[in-house]
Each structure stands twice: as C-alpha cells, then as structure tokens.
Symmetry: C2
Subunit: 552 residues, 2 copies
C-alpha cells in the first residue's frame, strides 16, 4: 500500500537528498542542501523545470529582511507574528495568549518563519544561488515605489509595516510576469554550477521506507520505465498541490473551483503518500484563492491568467440576482472565497458563477494594468458578453448561461436580474460619486488602492466611477479559481512531516503547496506563497542535509 | 506507525467481526453481521453504550420504504437519486448526465442507498432486532401527522415526496427526545438475546494487519491495560467523528465551531488509522451543522442541546453590525454554515458570533416547542441578555462580548449596531405584516413551517410577527455547532474503506460519522444522519460477515 513500500533489491540511483518537484520550494531546498554539503537529486514530474513558479511574478514575503534593516525599516517580531496569527486564525486569535490563541505548533511555525526568513535569503545569496532585492511596486497614489507595493493588509492594526517585506531575486528584471521564470533560471544555473542533478519527466509515485520505518528513497516513473532512487539522508516533497487530481478536488474542496495556474502534474501525490505514512493533514479545503473566467478553464482547469484584481472603476461584480456580494477590489485570496458561500434558503452556492459588469469606458480604457479577464484590444473576446442596454446584456448572459448549464449546476439569471442590476448600478453610482462604498468599503484600504489604481484616475475614490448612462455594457462570467490547493500533510518547524501526535516521520520533509499551509489559507501579503515556499524549502534543505546516512 | 501494526504474538480475544463503536451504525452493523452468522464483538470507548444516538430523536431516512409502499406512496428511484445529487453537489449536479454530474463512485453510493435502505430495515425486523414504523410529526399547518414531518426540501422540484421516508424504531415511543435511547435499548436487548458481546470502556487505538496487508484485529486500551482482539473476518469502524480532537477540529475545519452533541470519546481515531492505511478521505471540512449558545459550550465543546430551529416569530438573527444574514427558519444544517462565511473587506469571519434577538412575547410564550437556547421558565437565564430598549440591549451585548473577547477572536458590536438593529427590525416588521420576507424568504418553504410553527400562531406568515414597539428585548449569542464532524475515510458501495485508487483496504469497513459522508455535507431530510448510519452499517455488517476467515 502507498507510503509503505519496502526498499528494492537494487537501487537505480543513489544520492543524499532527493527533492521531489522543481518549483521554487524544491529548488531552494536543493540549493540549501547542496550548500550544506549534501549530494542532491531533483525529480520533476513535468517536462519543464519550475512548476507554478514559471508564471509567477516572483516576489517572496520576508519580514525583517536585510534590505529593510539596511533601509532602517524596523519590523518587530511580536507585531509581525500577531499579524500572521490574526490573518490565519481570525476567530481563534487572542493577543493576550502566550501562543496568540493558536495551537502551539502553529505559533512556533510563525515564530520560525519570522526568525529564519531573512537568514534563508542571506544563505541563498552567500552560496551564490540567488541574491534578494526589494520587489518594486506602486503606492496607493499610483507612484512607482522601489520598495514595492504596500502590504496587502496595511489597514489592520496588527500590521505595522507598509513597505519592504516583499523581496525578489536579483535577476535584473522587475516584479511582474517573467520574474518567476527568471528566478527559476537563476536557481537552475546555480544548480548546474554546484552539481545538483535535476531530472524532468520523473513522476514520483511512492516513497520507500527502511526496516525502521524511515523514508529512504522514492519510486519514480518515466516514459521509459521506473527509477528507484535511494536517499541516504532524506526525501523532500515539494511536489505542489492536488488540484489536478479530480477526485481530491471534488471530494475535499467544498464547491466548484474552476481552474488554477498550477501545472497539470500537480495531482496530490504527496497527500497520498504522506497519508499512507500516518501524516497529520490540515487545511485540505483550501487554495490560494482567486478568480478566473470560467469559459477559459471549463475544460482544461488551468490557465496562466488569474483575475488578481478586478479591473475597472465603472465596474461591479454581481450574482445571478444582479446584486453585489463582495468588495470587488479586495485582494484575490480574500475575494475568491466568496464563491463558496452556501445559501440556506435556495440550498445552492448562489455565487458559483458571478458576473463582472462594466461599461464602455472600462472596456476601451487604453491604459495598461492587470485587466484579465477584461481583454486587451488584441485579445479574444468570445467570453465577453455585451448589450446596448442592461436588458440586452441580461439576454446575452442568459443565453450564455443556458449553453453552460450542464457544467454550472444549472445557473440561470433570476427573473428580476435586470431590475436588480439597474438598482445595484444606481446605488453603486451614488457610492462612486461620494467616494464611499457603504456596502463593501471598496477602495478604502490602502492595500486595495495600491494594487488596482492603474488606469483608474477618474473618481473621488479612484476605484469607483459612475457607470455611463447608456450602453454598450459588458459582462464576463467569473468563478472560483486559485494558484493551487494549499492543504496537505503538516510539518513542524524543521519542515519535517509529522503524524497526529506530532512525531516526525523520519527522513520525510515537505515544503511549498504540497504541505498544509501553516497560514491556514491566509495570504499574509504579496509574496506569502513564495515566502512559505522559500522558508520551508530552506528548513527542509538544512535539516535533510544534516540527517545521518540511513540504512536503505 | 499507526495503521501498520503487525499482529501480536498472542491475542487476548478472538471473534469474526469486531465493531468499533456502539452508536446506531455500530449496533446495526453488529446485529446484521450476527444475523448473517458471524460472531461479533463490539468495543465502545465510552462507559455508556449508544454514542451520539443516546440523545437523538431517533428517525432515519429510508426512501421507498415498506411502510410507504403499504400506504401506497410511490417514491421512484430516479427522482430520489436526483434529489440526493442535487442537494449533495449543487454546483456539479447535471440531470442530463448518466451519473448526474457526480463522480461515478458517489452516484453508485446514492443508488445503493436508495436500493438497500428499505431492505436493511426489513432485515433488522426479520432478525428480531428492530421493527420500523413511520416517524410521527406535524404538518406545515401544525397538525399532527402520523406519517411524520414534511421532507426538509419539499419545495425543490427534485423532491417528489412530502411524507413517509422518515421511519423510526418500533419502540412504543414517539419521535423526539428519548427515542434515540429507546432505539439503543432495543438493539442492546437484541444483542443480548443473540450473543453479541458489547464491551464499554474499550478505546481502540490502532488496527492490526496481517502479512498480506489485510486488517485482522484491533488494539484497544482499557483502564486495566490493553486488549488485542483478532477479527477473523473484518473490522468495522463506527467510532464517530473527530470533533473532540482539538487538533483535527482546529486544523481541518475552517473557522470556530463551538460545540457538538457527540460524546467526548469521538476523537477521530478512525481518521488517524485509515489515513495510515492509505485511505482516501473526503468532506473533512464538514459537520452535520447546527447552532448552539456559545456560552454553554465555550469550555466543554459539548451539549445535549442544539438550536435545531430558531424559536420565535418576533425574532431575528443578526450579526455584529445588526444586520440579518440568513433565513432564521432555515434547517439547522443549512443555517449553521452561515457562521463560516469569510468577509473579504474586514478579513474576519464576521458571523463567528451571531445574535438571536426577540421580544417579550417570544420570551414568555407559554406554548411548548423546540425553544433552545431561549429558556423555558424553569431553565437558567444567565446566557440571556436583555434591555428595555434596543440601546440597553446593545449595551448588555457589548458587555458580555467584552468578557468573551479572548475566546471569540475579539468580536465586538459595530459602532452603529443599535441603529442598524432598529432598521433591521423595522424592515422585518414590514415583512411580517405582509407575510413575505423579501430578503431571505423566511417561512416560504413548507419544510420550514413544518418544523417551526409550534407556538407560532399570530402572523400572516406564522414564522414572522412584528416586534413589540417597546421592550424588554432579549438576545442570545449563537455560534456554529453540530452533531459531529462527518468527513473522513471514503467507502465504496459495500462500505469497504477504499484507497485513492478505489481499491478496498481488505478487511476494513466504515459507517456512521466516522466515514466521509457520501452526501458531502447535505442533509437529505430529517433522519439523513441515522439513515446513513443504518444503510452503511447494514452493508458493513453484511460484507464483513461474508469475508473468508483470514490469517492473523
């Protein structure tokens, strides 16, 4: 049975540390383990190196980092850990408790994150793998800021820092598309220099355990057969989430999630293996949330695109009744979860499909910015519905929903959709004129303005502008999406995978989206995903390299 | 490691089938296995027999049952399975698909449920364990109905049956408090007659597997030592959910769930063991949902009481802003989930604590009914807050919330609570006068009226009546609660526990709240919980008894 495979008669390969997965967590773990003297082999299921990092904008969240300290920005530990606790476990958070209301293990993970994130970046620089610089960004006033975007949650009293925790690799590039790939390129080049063997097309299916129960190797499948690799010191799983395992996606997530940016090779192999070893699991109903245009991913369940920030000022997001349900400018990880709300009266997930509605000024705004799924002039528009009046727009939406009904749980527009949408827009227009969204506080948090002001310059509150009094109007169908799932086996502060009694499973480490995210679904700020990948990849590399050589 | 224990040198006891847990699922499985000729031993961790069934009102949902057929009520299979699919996977449901849009395994479970539920009750009667009769109830017009309450979801087009699917054991009692215990008493008496050995105070901690990997026994702990029991044919886990494992509760559920009706011995042992055997898991973020007064369970996490139906006509449930968030008369499993909604603007679970507000007429209504947490005249009232005006009431709520702050994530009333509450009540009063709740459709579904009309006779729509123009007013703090969790290891149509490839784990069966509920969190109607316990307990008993004798 999975997770309990006994060592083969003969190994095809031997090394000190096997890393499963070549995304950011895996390559960081490999570089660190190699830097600490271990021989390292990286096995990548896909035919390309880099995992989900290939399409990332490449920043990582590092509290109290060396760049901040050089710039004189203080980031006290107590405050930062409180922020992490408050965001991760809002209903358990208790600032008066020694562990802030958290389980002691989780509190220790947060302290460890704070303590070791900057040293991890420094060690990566010292071994020549990757230097770190401030990630650049814009301020809430849309001015370029070399110290990055503002923190996602700067409005919370627990957050004491506005800028500087987000770093990125010193690639010569800027924060944005391409920076993730450039970071992978740096790490792969370093791997070549120091002799880290990276093999693509090696899909790990199981791990081997020795007579004492310690993990001592892996079983991989390639197009030409199987490969059994002995890991003398440890195995690090950084193999991504489970979204592309349809069984796991359907049975562990709550309602429909339409797609992710993760590659199709992320099929939850680590969850299978680690559960088979008795690992504790957590957060398995969660993703790094976002939204995608449903028609783009209805068959493929994957896209390079994500609606990070909903584009447009004269724009609202409404449900099938024509009613707003969320702050459209909230961060993607906050906003995406609104699709999973269950309606006790209709016994439906009424937000399964939401409708982004905007006017001609938004559609034709020549400025740049993160517009997806609103198309740029040269992009396909099949998914954009339009009408010269709201009633015409509703008819177009109705027609499209009818075509998709077998895939949406039969979503239709409510009979009074047009009337409600008109009322919603009228109310929104008043908010836009006054600059204050009485229903959802749109654009009030600096973190929202800091990410969504590009190309928006018309209103008192620049995130809102009254809709034009006449059409054409446009609509796009949006659904829940994400980068990948972020639940799975639990780790301790050494990135060791643990059982339900918190005993480590000897020789087994985890990092990245393959593990149950310590933050329990919270997105501490921009770069929290890669920050976790880096920090736990670092600890996995350090501790696996330091293991004694084991019997096979 | 857990789930991989090899057989001991010497067994303390031997039997054909070991059943872990003596709740309804366990006792049904035991009776069926014994009836089919197996020797059966039941191990109960608690010092009392019956598990959560002890406080149940004792009805089970059996489509197309023999009582219905005798009464001439037709319940066609295709319609019933559609109802189950629609409720369980609303966003995946597709009536045009051969599997209704579900994973084929799940569809087969639903078909099996329909096909075998009535035969299971008939076999229990035939072996002398337990006869079944209609569960009694009241109609939406508050008239006694010997065929039971109306189906929970009778308003859905997929539901074709109003009455009759809910059965209960022929105990001589009526549907309600005491009937669960009476049913346990029947099954225990039968067990005594047929020689089923039931041992309390035996906490199973692990299972044994033979050289071929099949489950062949269990390791139990008692106050006087350990007991190793060989199971020649199979082991059936019916050991309840995992709510009372604080680690699992905190890390697998999404936000705070305050308490359950399940006994404290339900600590997720089966999830641990089955994961350690490589079992597939599902639905692990879910409970059979409800609500409880938070102060009652803030330390114990357990109560015999549950707010099944929110009591009162001049009553609303509001959040910390004084705004209604749900149909107060929705069924408990639908309503309880509203507490888990995340607010993208405040980055909080704004419904973590909700406030049931009612007036003096409700507080002093002399009629009976399910009033909890509104106290009967002779019950404690410490948890009831009051004020002669809404402002005084708000002050009392504020004061109580301040005392509880360290346990609630710091919930406070929003600054404009009183003003919003007044507006909410004014709007509600208009709805009550017109008989139509424009916001949440309160009282429109027959299933709501059928369960909450007792003692409510004043309004046009009897679930709503305008609040008195003057105080006193009352408030109770409510939070998410449940019977127990209902996620865990997955089964096939034989109640065999399966791995992620759907291969059965030989010798291992599961039923009741210990398994991942096939309904994925849906409550098909009154009795769906015990119906699942009975049906999968039945299959586990049938199939475990039919296994060949295994090597130990």
């Amino acid at each position: 049975m999975i997770g309990n495979r006994r060592s083969p008669e003969k190994w095809d390969l031997e090394t000190d540390v096997v890393v499963v997965g070549s995304g950011f967590a895996g390559l960081v773990a490999a570089a660190i383990a190699r830097g600490r003297g271990a021989e390292v082999l990286v096995l990548e299921a896909d035919h390309e190196i880099g995992g989900i990092m290939r399409i990332s904008s490449g920043e990582y969240w590092i509290p109290n980092n060396s760049r901040m300290r050089e710039a004189g920005i203080e980031d006290p530990k107590a405050d930062c850990v409180k922020l992490m606790a408050r965001l991760s476990y809002p209903t358990h958070y208790d600032p008066s408790s020694p562990t802030l209301g958290l389980r002691p293990r989780v509190h220790k993970l947060f302290e460890t994150y704070y303590d070791s994130a900057s040293p991890a970046t420094e060690e990566l620089a010292a071994i020549g793998a990757m230097g770190s610089v401030f990630s650049d960004g814009v301020t809430p006033d849309a001015e370029f800021n070399p110290q990055g975007h503002i923190e996602y949650h700067s409005e919370l009293p627990e957050n004491k820092i506005e800028y500087g925790r987000a770093l990125m690799a010193e690639t010569g590039g800027i924060h944005g598309p391409g920076q993730g790939q450039a970071t992978i390129d740096l790490l792969v080049a370093h791997a070549g220099r120091v002799g880290i063997d990276i093999r693509v097309g090696h899909r790990v299916e199981d791990a081997y355990r020795n007579a004492g129960g310690a993990v001592c190797g892996v079983h991989a499948v390639t197009t030409s057969g199987t490969v059994d690799v002995r890991a003398r010191r440890g195995v690090i799983f950084a193999s991504g989430g489970f979204f592309h395992n349809e069984e796991m996606r359907t049975q562990l997530l709550r309602s429909t999630v339409w797609g992710v940016t993760a590659p199709h090779t992320n099929t939850g192999v680590f969850l299978r293996i680690a559960q088979g070893m008795g690992a504790m699991t957590e957060n398995t109903d969660s993703l790094w949330w976002g939204q995608m245009g449903i028609e783009e991913v209805i068959d493929t369940h994957r896209s390079d695109n994500m609606a990070f920030w909903l584009y447009g000022d004269s724009m609202v997001l409404v449900n099938r009744r024509g009613v707003r349900v969320v702050n459209e400018k909230a961060h993607y990880n906050e906003r995406g979860r609104i699709h999973t709300v269950y309606d006790a009266t209709t016994k439906q997930y009424e937000n399964n499909v939401l409708i982004q509605v905007y006017d001609d000024a938004v559609a034709n705004n020549p400025e740049m910015g993160v517009k997806y799924p609103v198309p740029y002039p040269d992009q396909p528009t099949d998914h954009v519905l339009s009408g010269n009046t709201l009633a015409e727009l509703a008819a177009a939406i109705d027609e499209r929903l009818a075509k998709l009904a077998s895939r949406t749980g039969g979503v239709t527009l409510a009979p009074n959709f047009t009337e409600h949408l008109a009322a919603t827009i009228a109310r929104f227009n008043t908010f836009a004129e006054n600059g204050h969204d009485e229903d959802f506080g749109r654009g009030e948090a600096p973190g929202e303005r800091g990410y969504s002001v590009l190309g928006l310059t018309r209103g008192v509150n620049r995130t809102m502008y009254p809709f034009a009094g006449s059409g054409p109007y446009y609509a796009v169908l949006l659904g829940a999406a994400g980068f990948d799932t972020n639940g799975g086996p639990s780790i301790n502060e050494k990135a060791q995978v643990i059982d339900w009694d918190h005993n480590p499973i000897p020789g087994l480490y985890g990092a990245g989206n393959a593990i149950g995210a310590p933050g329990h679904g919270a997105y501490w700020s921009g770069g929290a995903t890669l920050g976790n990948a880096l920090v736990w990849g670092f600890h996995a590399g350090v501790n696996a390299a330091a293991e004694p050589v084991r019997e096979a």
